[in-house]
Each structure stands twice: as C-alpha cells, then as structure tokens.
Amino acid sequence: MYSKGLAPLAAATVVTITAAFAMVFFYAPNDADQGFIQKIFYVHVPMAIVALCGFVAGGVFAIKHLRSGDSSWDLRSYVAIHLSIILGVGVLATGAIWAKASWGHWWVWDEPVLVSFLVVFLLYCVYYPLRFSIEDPDRQARYSSVFAIAAGAFVPLNFVAVRMAETFTHPRVLSQTGGDLPGDMRLTFLVSLLGMALLFVTLWKLELTAKHASMQLKRLRNRARVAA
C-alpha cells in the first residue's frame, strides 16, 4: 500500500543527494565573505525548509483525516511530523555549528530566525506527549489532528513574522527578487533542496510501510487468537 514506488524513489534520492554533495564540494565556489564554512548552508537550509514543509504537510493530512475520518491520513500526518522533528534536530545542530564558526557562539538569542525555528521545534515536541497520553485510538487521532492543523497554520505565520522582523543578522538568501546567490551556488542549493525533499518522501514512505506492516501483523495475531 505505502511501499508502492519506494525502490525507484530511494534510488533517485541516493543519486540526487550524491550529486548534491559532489556539487557542494567540487562545483559551488567558496563564499567570498564566509569562505569554506558557507558549505554548511547546503545541508542546513534545505533541511530547515523541508522540515517546515513537513510540519505543514502534517497539518494538511490532519485536515484530510478530520474531513474523511480515515485513520490512514492520521498515520500520514503523524509520520510527517515525526520525520520533521528528526530533521529539526539536524537543523538545530547544524545551525549551532554554523553559528559557532561564523559568529563565535553556539547560539544567538537575539537572532529571530534561530529562535523562531526553536519555538516551532519545541511546539511540535508537545505533539508526542499529547498523542500518546490518549489511549482511545479514535480520540488520539482526532486530538492529534486538531493539534497538527493548529501548529501547521502557525508555521507559515511564524515564517512571515520573521521576515517582518527588523534585524537582519541572518543571511537572507531567498527573496521575492531571487536572492543574492550566484548561478552555480543557486543550482547547487536547488539540487540539495531536491535531494532533501526526496529523502523526506522516501523516509516518510519507509516509515509508513513499517507502521502499516506492524498494524497488519497485529490484526493477524488477533485473528489467530480468536481462531484458537
């Protein structure tokens, strides 16, 4: 059910990420201002964009769940949020490394982009205790969906709020005018972003497949128990 097309998707992910890494180190030039350290940008920013899109996707799946009552949409929402939280850990870790190398500090509290991402991350950390504190599966799915929709709506609002913030210490590379990235850097960034998006979808399908197989196994066990 969920594993359809997983093998070619995984192959495409491996090829794209390998190409992206090769472009990062052998094609994209060093940044004139930051030098070699700017290479962190190609893993940190795509990971952040994909994680935030994953949170929003979790909200969209949750809407579908509440509209249809089909629990498979709740499962899709849960796995998307779960994966986005894992990527969020990566974003915070790589961001801290980049901050230390660029600014001399692991964390800068007056930088709106960093703090707003941390706020979103911590908000979604609440999803787990909320979800797993409810035993009844229907209620669990319903309440989790409501949370996923509310939090999913907060993500773009938060993004806009950061854009409207006054301080611009953080490098701004994507804007309505196309940003300041030169062509070869932009191409490398776009390939990295594509690779990260493919990785997200591959892992999302992989986890959905594993969870679905586990649920089917539980059903088989119950059937065997009833038959015995």
Binding site: D31, F36, I37, L203, S214
Partner: protein, 52 residues
C-alpha cells in the same frame, strides 16, 4: 568576523555533514530493526500455524 582558514573551517563543515549523515543512518537503522522484528514475528506466526 573574517572567514576561518580552511583547516579550521573544514572541521565545522565536516561536523555539520557528519551530524546529518549520522541522523539519517540512525533513523534508517531503527526502521530497519523494526522491519526485522516484524519479519521475525510473521515467521513465528506462520510456524505456529503450521504446527497446528
């Protein structure tokens, strides 16, 4: 701050990419372990069915 020299910047860049790869590898290993457990359980279920 001025750009870090390559030998120093290299450590940070390597650190960031290792964090990313480690995260993905650990995640895939956990999912792999889950799938292996499901496979073992299915085998046990089929064996129990055959014994009956």
């Amino acid at each position: 701050m001025p750009a870090l020299p390559l030998d120093e910047a290299g450590k940070y860049v390597a650190g960031a990419y290792v964090v990313f790869l480690a995260l993905i590898l650990v995640y895939v290993a956990i999912i792999g372990a889950k799938i292996a457990r499901i496979e073992r359980d299915i085998t046990a279920l089929v064996d129990a069915e055959d014994d009956e």
